[in-house]
């Protein structure tokens, strides 16, 4: 269990995110991904919020060539729907139908 001061600070930050956080859109689905604060910190960005989103950041394609700015977006993966790979099929125990 985190110390009371940490818990209070987290609660305060969560409230701040809810009030002043930037809206983030899932670039794959177009749906809202949540709200977040982006804070520069030691050469990186601290992302506070997005606790319920499972997204990865990537620079977005731009139809117009610009040297002075780029868009950084967030996208979720589609639901896993991978086919079998041969080692699974080669297994000798082929199960029966239910």
């Amino acid at each position: 269990m985190a110390p009371p001061l940490h818990r209070a600070a987290k609660a305060l930050l969560r409230s701040l995110v809810a009030i002043a956080g930037a809206k983030v859109t899932d670039q794959r689905t177009g749906l809202p991904a949540g709200k977040a604060l982006f804070i520069p910190w030691r050469g990186k960005l601290l992302v506070i919020g997005l606790e319920n989103a499972r997204v990865s950041p990537a620079f977005l394609p731009q139809p117009h060539l610009t040297y002075w700015h780029q868009d950084l977006g967030f996208s979720s993966h589609p639901e896993p729907d991978f086919p079998h790979e041969p080692p699974a099929h080669r297994h000798p125990d082929t199960p029966p139908s239910p």
Binding site: V47, A53, S76, P80, E85, H91
Partner: protein, 247 residues
């Protein structure tokens, strides 16, 4: 001879675990029930249900499950060893004690779903999380041993895929279950990541029970089971009140 086995992981006291096994057996007459016990040895010895196995794996007995990376590798290995002399088991239904069935013959429902999905493994809240802000992924991405394990076992063209799935319920084709249970190096990693990720990289098709995921939650507890059943649930998790599902 039944070819479906429901393995119930429990640490409840012996009388409650016995009632749990009886309840599942009544609900699933054409599946065999195995109690997988993770509680105290004295309670295990007091269990009247048979069959039963005791799991003596400290990696199961974590307190802060995510940070300590709770593992079911010892559990899976024990189940796999138990069924080794029983080749008639072709489907393994793994469930925690607080994941309760809301339909008769849940293993048959799951087996039919497995076939319709052409899958080897079914689970709830399955998602792909590599490269994302998922805390469990970021925690494991900092450990080179995790990525080494995946790369060493991957038959996939993209060895960077990492999946996450709740550990409280899964349904397996036997050979997929045995294949994952046989990998001892999986033990140091969190079960919700390493189980579906290894299954995927071993070449098996892992699919989400999308329609059931709203009723199978990481935390709860759930209480109004009748309402969940009405909404389409065939199972619910977590249900901590034994009176809601014990006879």
């Amino acid at each position: 001879m039944n070819h479906r086995l429901t393995a119930i992981l429990t640490h409840l006291p012996a009388p409650e675990s016995d009632r749990l096994a009886a309840s599942w057996q009544a609900s699933c007459p054409d599946s065999d029930i195995l109690l997988v016990y993770g509680g105290a040895p004295s309670e295990f010895n007091a269990l009247k249900s048979s069959p039963k196995i005791f799991v003596n794996d400290p990696r199961l007995r974590t307190r802060d499950h995510q940070r300590e990376r709770q593992s079911y590798q010892g559990v899976f290995h024990a189940i796999s060893a138990f069924i080794a002399p029983s080749p008639h088991y072709q489907f393994i239904h793994f469930t925690e004690f607080d994941c309760v069935p809301l339909t008769d013959n849940l293993p048959l429902w799951l087996a039919n779903r497995l076939e319709s999905e052409n899958a080897d493994v079914l689970g709830c809240r399955l998602s792909r999380i590599d490269g994302t802000n998922h805390p469990h992924f970021l925690y494991h991405a900092a450990d080179p041993a995790f990525l080494s394990l995946i790369h060493a076992n991957s038959s996939r063209s993209n060895p960077s895929v990492v999946l996450s799935m709740l550990g409280c319920i899964s349904f397996w084709k036997r050979h997929a279950f045995d294949a994952v249970a046989r990998i001892p190096d999986a033990s140091p990693f969190y079960l919700e990541l390493v189980i579906p990720t290894l299954a995927h990289h071993l070449g098996f098709r892992v699919r989400n029970l999308t329609d059931q995921s709203p009723f199978v939650q990481p935390s709860g507890p759930l209480k109004d089971l009748a309402a969940l059943h009405q909404a389409g649930a065939v199972m619910a998790h977590p249900v901590k009140d034994p009176s809601l599902h014990l006879p």
